[in-house]
Amino acid sequence: MSERREDQGRGEQAGGRRGVVRALRLGGEILIAGAIVVALWQAVVIVFAPPPFMLPAPRAVATTLVTRFGFLGGQALVTFTEIILGLACGVVLGTLSGLLVGGSPRLSRVVTPILVVSQTLPVFAIAPLLVLWFGFGLASKVVMATIIIYFPITSAFADGLRRTDPGLLDLARLWRAGRWQTLMLIRMPAALPGLVSGIRVAAVFAPIGAVVGEWVGARRGSASSCCSRTLGCRPTCCSPRW
C-alpha cells in the first residue's frame, strides 16, 4: 500500500519534471523559430535595402518595442481582454449550437446551410455595422471575435457528435440508453476531441476578430476609440506628441 503511494508520488514528480522539460523545449523551439524569422527579415533588409518606412530593420523595431513598451503593452492588454472575452463567448455559443446541430439531424439540415452562409459573409464587410450596433468600446470587438470563431467550433463539435463510433452507439442501444443519455454519456465524450481541435483553431482566429474590430473602430475616428482601444493606435486627439 505504502509502496504504491510512493510510486504514485514518484509518478507525479516525474509528471512535473516532464512538464518543465516540455515547457523548456517549447520555449527553445519558439526562440529558434523567432530567430529564423528575424534572420530572414534582416536578410531582406540587407539585400533589398528598402527605405525604413517600407520595411524597418528588426533592430529599429526592437528599439521601438523597448522604448514604447509601456504604451504598446497597455494596448496589447486591451486587445488581449477582447480576445479572451471573444474566445469565451465563441466557445460557449459554438458548443451550444454544435450540440443542437449534432444532436438532432433534422435541425442540422435546416441550420447548417444558415451557418455556412453566415460564414461566407466576410466579417470585414459587416465590421463597420457591428461597430455602429455595439459601439466603439469593447463589445463590438468581442462580438467580432465571437463571430469569427463561432463557426469553426460549431462545425468541429457537430462533426464530432455525428461521427461517433457506431459500435459505441450499438452498445448504448443494447443498454437501452435514452437519446439524452446516449448524447451525454457516449456522444459528448466521443466528440470532445473534435471540440478541442475547434477550440485550438479558434484560439488562433480570435485575435483576427479583435484586430478587425479595432481597425474599423479606429477608422471611424471617434474620440471614444482613441487611446486604449486600438493596438498601437493613438490619434492626435489624445496625444499632442504624435
Binding site: 517549447l26 519558439i30 521601438t64 518595442l65 503593452g73 496589447a76 480576445i83 476531441p193 485575435p207
Partner: protein, 46 residues
C-alpha cells in the same frame, strides 16, 4: 496599428505586430495545454 500605418510609422506598426504575435502565441500555448488536460485520453503528437 492603423494610425502608425497611415503615418508611415512602420516601426511602431511592426512593434505592435510583434506584441500581437506574442499575445496570440501565449494564448495558443495556454489553450493547448488546457485542452490537452480536458481530453487527457487522446494521445497526440504535440
Amino acid at each position: 496599428m492603423l494610425q502608425s500605418n497611415a503615418r508611415m510609422q512602420t516601426d511602431v506598426l511592426f512593434a505592435a505586430l510583434v506584441m500581437l504575435a506574442a499575445v496570440t502565441l501565449t494564448l495558443k500555448i495556454v489553450v493547448d495545454s488546457l485542452t490537452r488536460r480536458l481530453v487527457f485520453w487522446v494521445e497526440d503528437a504535440t
